[in-house]
């Protein structure tokens, strides 16, 4: 199989917008919808991009009963009340260099939305550039959104990850910090420890998500990203599965590999370490 190289510029432009572009297109609410999705779900209310709606990852982008992504029906409702149609261009942005914006991007692709983009640099860059913020929550006429059935080729479940680890049929990328990867800590400093054991899935390569970002929160160039991942042996020749702790940081890496580097077969394992690290008798590697 030929090595997959970085995505052509047209692909990158199709999934990323600059803050300049965003500022110039804020008023175009008929075909574009800006959506803020933050780790800190209160950040939106402090001030957000004008005309942006806010989605909460922990209530609106997941199943609140069982552990799962948002259901098709619930997503359709969310998009409909946000005034989003199947033809709308959705521009996502958020804090932490677009962690949960990428999580939303991944879910929108799982449900087949055509035109989704990330605002490069996210909330951090918008604020650092001193651009306008508002506390006014916009309202839009309700739309009718019809989602596709979930595209499971974008999502890895436990059995596939087990197979990937034991048979080396797929490459596993652990995007957590090196201290989480080695098991020195169970969760990012300051966040709840939600697993029983530390370490990583045997065979995984550790490429922390943040290495894909510049200091200002934007994504690194295709050349830099290619060097980063191919340098660690993640070339796209084999299918790739990215994971982290709960699946949001790995959404970020999934986005990079699939859309900025153009790897064809990339999945996000949203069960991630909070699933694997709690399994009885699961193999764990601690290098």
């Amino acid at each position: 199989m030929a090595v997959q190289t970085s995505a052509p510029p047209s692909t990158r432009q199709a999934v990323l917008v600059t803050t300049d572009w965003a500022a110039q297109n804020l008023a175009n609410t008929s075909t574009i919808r800006f959506v803020e999705v933050d780790v800190d779900t209160k950040a939106y209310t402090e001030g957000h991009v004008p005309n942006a709606v806010g989605w909460a990852w922990d209530t609106q982008l997941c199943d609140t009963l069982r552990r799962d992504i948002v259901s098709k029906q619930k997503l359709e409702q969310l998009l409909s009340v946000s005034g989003i149609t199947n033809q709308t261009t959705i521009v996502l942005y958020g804090d932490n260099n677009n962690w949960f914006a990428a999580w939303a991007f991944w879910q929108l692709k799982v449900y087949g939305h055509q035109d989704v983009r990330l605002m490069d640099g996210g909330r951090k860059k918008w604020i650092a550039e001193g651009r306008e913020l508002t506390t006014q929550v916009p309202t839009f006429p309700r739309a009718t959104y019809q989602a596709n059935a979930p595209e499971i080729s974008l999502r890895a479940f436990l059995p596939e990850v087990m197979k990937a680890s034991s048979e080396h049929s797929r490459q596993l990328v652990d995007v957590r910090s090196s201290q989480e990867f080695t098991g020195e800590i169970l969760a990012p400093p300051g966040l709840p420890e939600t697993c029983q054991r530390g370490g990583h899935i045997p065979g995984a390569k550790n490429i922390p998500w943040g290495k894909a970002c510049n200091e200002d929160g934007t994504f690194k160039s295709a050349e830099e990203l290619r060097a980063l991942y191919t340098g660690a042996g993640i070339t796209g020749e084999k299918p790739v599965i990215a994971y982290c702790r709960i699946g949001e940081r790995s959404s970020h890496t999934w986005f990079v590999l699939k859309y900025l580097l153009g790897y064809q077969n990339v999945k996000n394992y949203d069960g991630s370490w909070t699933e694997w690290g709690n399994l009885v008798a699961a193999p764990i590697e601690k290098p």
């Binding site: 800190d40 001030g47 650092a128 001193g130 651009r131 913020l133 020195e184 400093p189 590697e285």
Partner: protein, 84 residues
Amino acid sequence: MPKPEEYSETHTTLAGWPITITTYRLDTIYYTTIDNTDPGAWVVKAQGATKAESESKATAQAQALLEKIKKNPPPTGCTSVPGF
């Protein structure tokens, strides 16, 4: 519409952990967020009438939180279970 001003990022260490203190002013309020740098998740946030007040509040909260973090012993090797 207000614009954020006086944006600043300070990289430092607190309770042995690298952190980033980010502050900006919106109208008359200073907003501070402290994240844990690696991996970059926010740890605490605070507000104040001055930058010093906002950052002081956030730092005190972060200190209390970060001091509680347990570090596990250094890794000793693979603990795979055959036949899984």
